[in-house]
Symmetry: C2
Subunit: 246 residues, 2 copies
């Protein structure tokens, strides 16, 4: 009971925004807005680089050991800076974790946006989208890991971040448009729910990466092998499309 309370307090308490902990929000703005001259010459003070460095190391640590398993001291050691700086910039372990999570989400948003699918025929557009999702998850195991960890924690941290919630909406709109065009053109027989379709695609792509180890151990199969990857990519695309055509 006492332990539970302490643990809960710990989590709730992380809301207190430390001096610079908000700097994550305008990070990019800062970099663009004028005085980024420090980075060029090999001077010393370089907050942006320091923060990025910390985030890189922290991502690695958290994705490998989980949130509770990740050690702040271990992160500090692998950084070119000190533990003091982690707390200076991110306020707390949870603050750091949240920053890692937000950065991971921000990274993928950009990738998903510049897909021009509206001029492709529906079926082909869907295949491109599936291909992209597949390759994205395959190329970003860190992201997959973080999402898995978030789920273990009931998405508690994601709830606090408005930024994260608003992201994947665009994917749904893209899918919805493709489905509508497909039905209108008569290539898709079924009027499916776009979120369901997104889930069908996402589940497979995500699972391949998230459950790589247990699945690989049980069935003694290396899921990262190129031939296997190609076969799987084709399978999920065929499955989705044949489903929509039925």
């Amino acid at each position: 009971m006492t332990l539970e309370q302490i643990r809960k307090f710990d989590v709730d308490n992380r809301l207190s925004t430390r001096p610079v902990s908000v700097s994550m929000a305008d990070e990019t703005v800062k970099a663009d807005s004028g005085m980024a001259a420090k980075r060029e010459n090999g001077r010393k003070n370089d907050p942006q680089r320091t923060q990025e460095d910390i985030l890189d190391v922290a991502t690695e640590e958290f994705t490998t050991h989980g949130l509770a398993g990740g050690r702040v001291d271990a992160i500090a050691e692998k950084t070119r800076t000190s533990k003091r700086m982690i707390y200076y910039y991110f306020g707390s372990k949870e603050g750091l974790y949240l920053a890692v999570l937000e950065r991971a989400y921000r990274k993928i948003r950009t990738l998903e946006e510049d897909l021009q699918l509206s001029n492709l025929p529906p079926e082909q557009a869907l295949r491109v989208l599936i291909s992209t999702t597949f390759e994205h998850d395959e190329a970003n195991p860190d992201f997959v890991r973080l999402v898995s960890i978030e789920n273990i924690h009931h998405a508690a941290h994601m709830l606090r971040s408005d930024a994260i919630r608003d992201l994947n909406v665009s994917v749904i709109e893209t899918i919805a448009a493709i489905l509508d065009r497909g039905v209108a053109a008569g290539v898709f027989a079924r009027k499916a729910d776009p979120i369901d379709i997104h889930m069908l695609i996402s589940a497979f792509c995500f699972f391949r990466v998230s459950n790589r180890y247990t699945f690989g151990t049980i069935f003694r199969r290396d899921l990262s092998e190129p031939a296997t990857m190609e076969r799987h990519k084709g399978m999920i695309a065929d499955a989705v499309i044949s489903y929509l055509k039925t």
Copy 2:
């Protein structure tokens, strides 16, 4: 560096089998073999019940907080016994976690075995199998959680347990038989790999549960709603079958 070493040492060191820690293996045997008279009357010494009690609480703790996040003291507090007993029976935190994991796997093995699918027509057999998988994952979020946690730890604990590895093989044989019959009967056009098909089914069913929180948060959708469940169950079945028929 030092921290890493210590952590690794910690993990490796848990192999040492404590006096009674093997009792998990012949747990059922013990219970059946004669003197189980203790349990009936409300006497005091009751190893089986104590161990079960500990495992119940530990399952809850680990699935909620992860392996590193789970606290032995917290488990001990919620048990009707003491922390000393946890170490008496399971040797270490990792030992306890492993016991939890094994029990979870053992539980599902029994369910999967008594499915008589060989006399059903292929398509229907597959639908029943998919239905079963779907409902199993839905009904056992603890199991799903544990597998997710195992993946974060690179399936390190599963590797040590021979018992776990040998389980899911039967599912593959079942699927292989169905696919063969389907192709022979001409209802399935495609000669698919049974492990791939298992993955396609498993991924969706698993993802619905494992990513419930993040998915629910992003798309504001409650995946445990009956109507949604039924729709999803139908979707994955239709997708798999239409894929095989194409």
